[in-house]
Symmetry: C2
Subunit: 239 residues, 2 copies
């Protein structure tokens, strides 16, 4: 109604009763299409066909809302784990990794939040942010013969791996799924800032390898790297 043109995909007021779950879901949906930057209390409210202040019945504030969103995202990570796979730590970790990756892929714009948002406890490393998840992971590992130290280290290695890989991946996916973010102005000053099409003169190698560079190998790369990590763990375990 105002003048924003940035995608208000109808659904003006389909629901007649709010709830925290509903709010958070709407928030996630909104982020999915316009990025975290595009999420505003008012715009979200409008999505729900309601006034901004109404949201405050269900969330403490924006910060809290975002917290809710990442919980929503990473929440059902421990849900219904396949007992079969969980029997060997390799399969277990693999399954876990793929679950997280699926989330990152389904919500490329939202996933970075998981990384940014600092966790409740310093030893809760993104993207495995809930005590529940860490608990199942650690207990499973220890239960399968990992020493305490090994379990913890594995947890650390595993999370760095996931974070690095998926953050990067979701960043590129999030970009081409509609870079609705910051159109911003043109014009320049004395700033070295990003040129319209990037100066890759005197960068012959980059120029030459450009097709290779823009290729999307994320699937195989993830698989391979994960495999490498597991191998490495396996080696360190038996040694």
């Amino acid at each position: 109604m105002t003048k924003r043109s940035t995608s208000k995909p109808a659904s003006a007021a389909p629901t007649r009763r709010l709830s925290q779950e509903l709010v958070i879901d709407a928030a996630l949906a909104h982020i999915d299409r316009s990025g975290p930057h595009g999420l505003t209390m008012r715009s979200l409210a409008q999505d729900l066909g309601v006034e901004a202040m109404a949201l405050y019945r269900y969330v403490h504030g924006k910060e809290d809302l975002l917290e809710g969103v990442v919980n929503r995202l990473m929440g059902d990570l421990t849900a219904e784990l396949d007992e079969e796979l969980a029997e060997h730590w390799q399969g277990f970790l693999q399954m876990f990794a793929h679950r997280v990756r699926r989330i990152a892929i389904e919500h490329p714009k939202a996933f970075p939040l998981v990384a940014t948002r600092h966790p409740a406890a310093p030893w809760l490393r993104p993207p495995l942010r809930s005590v529940e998840v860490v608990e199942t992971l650690l207990s499973t590992l220890v239960q399968q013969g990992f020493s305490d130290q090994q379990a913890v280290t594995t947890y650390r290695l595993f999370s760095s791996f996931l974070l690095g890989q998926l953050l990067l991946e979701s960043s590129v996916r999030g970009a081409d799924t509609g870079p609705v973010e910051e159109p911003l102005d043109e014009g320049d000053a004395t700033i070295p800032h990003a040129d319209g099409e990037l100066t890759l003169d005197d960068a012959p190698e980059v120029l030459r390898l450009r097709p290779l560079l823009s290729e999307d190998r994320s699937d195989e790369e993830f698989e391979i790297s994960l495999e490498a990590l597991l191998d490495r763990l396996d080696r360190e375990l038996s040694q």
Copy 2:
């Protein structure tokens, strides 16, 4: 002068002439102590003993300023590389990795910006965000016998590794170097939100391993993981 109490460490107006460099440096310093969230055009201006709008002579806007900051951070990555080390790709990558790590450690609060801020080109993966850096990296690799594909993959693996490792590391370091961020209120609603001291009942394993978990092994872990990555690359190279 207003009423902010959040650390204005003197230095009211030591300089009589502004410059883009100066502005960006001040911004970085400000972020270093209060986090990106605490950086405000007005507060930054005040640090420089000047009015907010003055900054716009040197930066296009806040977004641009942040861009400048990350460039400043990652800028001199290619400066004066040790020819000795660059003779073997292993030493080369190692040196690179340590340089980046040093930056992440010296600016824990600022480093996440490097990850968040999306790069000019999609194939420019954080934290190696400048064409220059990527150019030297790629050319060095190719020049030492890497195939094109191998060079590119190495670049990818290397950046994921750095990003995951250092983002996590800087996040914990940034936290205990003064969590000036979002003190926010107390009180609750129907929200699952982080309890004051986190409920780790029914998380016996986490509870038990807590000392292990909060231990800081980042130094060795980085070294070891880097080593592992290099080994893996070496293996894939010869095979």
